[in-house]
């Protein structure tokens, strides 16, 4: 084939592939917004559900989702970031660290329903938390740990050796070096991992199914040991379990879920770019 023609064909194929990536994302967003937006109003956002969830709002599910994601992040960030620091900065290459790394990779490949069953067994039943925010958050935290550890490790690994050397040569201890030099440089990368973690935790249904999600609970939680309604599961419920529900209601629920994830991501992205600028 003539190289110019080949070049043209290759270009077109690559371009089409790229466009194909945008199409589904665009369609999802457009459909959700067009069908859901008309149903969004203050009552929908801030009222309790009523009439078997066919009317009223989704306030408890919004609050439940925010609580759950916040608690998940609270558990997952320290464990994930600290273990990444340990693996990168302290651990020597030996059988234990190889096993830990293998475990992280495998953890990332476990289907989410398996996390749900694991959380049911460990947190809900064995530890006796019952279906509760804490049980759901711990389950989700374990699920997003691999994401946070892997991205944090990459971020730490990419901090130039020369920064560490400069700091140590100035008499800083290893921990001071990590605390004052390595972590600040790695923070944007770590935040990326946290963003991914938030999105994943907010959107999954299977892990929360048996550990926290309530089918219908028109009140707000008072403690970490209360059950809550959560948006992804609520979405599942309103789209499959309740006959004769207005479709706007379903789409509006999806829109709110997407909106919350988007806002959380946006906050983290702003934080990250602020940090990048400081550097």
């Amino acid at each position: 084939m003539n190289p110019k023609l080949a070049q043209k064909i290759a270009f077109i194929i690559l371009l089409l592939a790229t466009i194909l990536v945008i199409v589904p994302v665009g369609m999802i967003v457009v459909i959700i917004v067009v069908k859901g937006a008309p149903a969004i109003n203050w009552e929908f956002l801030l009222a309790m559900p009523s009439k078997g969830m066919r009317a009223g709002g989704i306030f408890p599910a919004i609050v439940g989702t925010i609580y759950l994601v916040a608690a998940t992040i609270l558990f997952a960030i320290p464990v994930g970031v600290f273990s990444a620091i340990y693996l990168v900065e302290y651990a020597r290459e030996n059988l234990l660290t190889r096993m830990v790394k293998l475990a992280i990779i495998n953890l990332a490949g476990v289907p989410s329903i398996v996390y749900g069953l694991f959380g049911l067994g460990l947190f809900v039943i064995f530890l006796g938390f019952g279906p509760s925010i804490i049980a759901g958050a711990l389950t989700l935290a374990i699920m997003i740990l691999p994401i946070i550890i892997t991205t944090s490790k990459e971020a730490l690994d990419s901090v130039p050796r020369s920064y560490r050397e400069a700091s140590l040569a100035l008499g800083a201890s290893k921990w001071q070096t990590i605390r004052h030099v390595v972590l600040p440089s790695a923070l944007p990368g770590i935040l990326t991992g946290i963003i991914l973690g938030i999105s994943r935790a907010a959107g999954e249904t299977a892990p929360i199914l048996f550990t926290v999600a309530a089918f219908y609970l028109p009140r707000l939680p008072r403690t970490m040991f209360d059950q809550v309604m959560v948006l992804p599961y609520h979405l599942f419920v309103v789209s499959t379990q309740i006959p004769n529900i207005k479709t706007e209601y379903t789409y509006a629920t999806a829109l709110v879920l997407v909106g919350i994830v988007l806002i959380a991501n946006l906050a983290a992205i702003i934080l990250r770019s602020k940090y990048r600028k400081k550097i």
């Binding site: 020369s162 400069a166 140590l168 040569a169 100035l170 008499g171 800083a172 201890s173």
Partner: protein, 250 residues
């Protein structure tokens, strides 16, 4: 007066011996340069003085390095105080990705060795000593990474000066700089030697002869010859030294 006395120093990286029986007395308030072909152990020698080689897995040393009467290689020797007294400048300028001022106060913050209220004065003093103050006084909160390489290297020296070291170890400090910047850093070193003992590793023989008072020539881990710079460059005693500086070996 001798500032650093290295006695019978042997260093091994695993099975490989990188320093063989090195003996050298480095005088106070002078510039001493170490020359020799790539891989002969110059950096290793420098990194043993401030014990950066402690970080290398499998590195072992024996022998002594005596600074002000104490053997810094003793396992009980306080590394923090050693590294405060012995600063190191690296081949590539490596300022932290922070503001100019934070770079200079880094050591102070880590050691808690000065009050916050004194920081501004110390920043000014340190920058003046490396002749950066006039250039940077209005840009103290700019990122250090936005500076030119020469300014970065000066800043790295200022960062050391802030913690009041006595010895400056410089490992090819000009190799990333252009000739004009190199000359200016050399000028700076000559000014600094009044207050500091300077050891510089360099591949640039003109540089060694221009700025240093004494010179050591290393070859495959051994210190072949050490003496006044004039002597080493005009009238070396060892044939190997002669061959190296005239370009016949190395």
């Amino acid at each position: 007066m001798t500032k650093i006395a290295v006695e019978k120093l042997n260093l091994f990286y695993g099975d490989f011996q990188a320093l063989i029986n090195v003996d050298i007395r480095i005088p106070a308030n002078k510039i001493t340069s170490m020359i020799g072909p790539s891989g002969c152990g110059k950096s290793t020698l420098l990194r043993t003085v401030n014990r950066m080689n402690d970080l290398v897995d499998g590195a072992r040393v024996d022998g002594k390095i005596i600074i002000d009467g104490d053997n810094v290689l003793d396992s009980g020797y306080d590394l923090v105080s050693l590294r405060k007294r012995v600063g190191m400048v690296f081949q590539r300028p490596n300022p932290f990705p922070m503001s100019v001022a934070s770079n200079i106060t880094f050591g102070l913050r880590v050691h808690g060795s000065a009050k916050r209220g004194d920081f501004d004065n110390i920043v000014e003093d340190s920058l003046k000593k490396v002749l950066l103050w006039d250039d940077l006084k209005d840009r103290l909160d700019r990122s250090a990474l936005s500076l030119s390489l020469e300014q970065q290297q000066r800043l790295c020296i200022a960062r050391l000066i802030a913690v009041k070291p006595e010895i400056l170890l410089m490992d090819e400090p000009c190799s990333a700089l252009d000739p004009i910047a190199t000359e200016r850093i050399e000028q700076l070193m000559i000014e600094l030697k009044e207050n500091y003992t300077i050891v510089i590793v360099t591949h640039n023989m003109q540089q060694a002869s221009r700025i240093s008072d004494s010179t050591g020539f290393m070859w495959l881990g051994e210190l072949i010859e050490y003496g006044a710079t004039d002597m080493i460059f005009t009238n070396p005693k060892q044939k190997l030294t002669q061959d190296y500086i005239t370009g016949r070996a190395g």
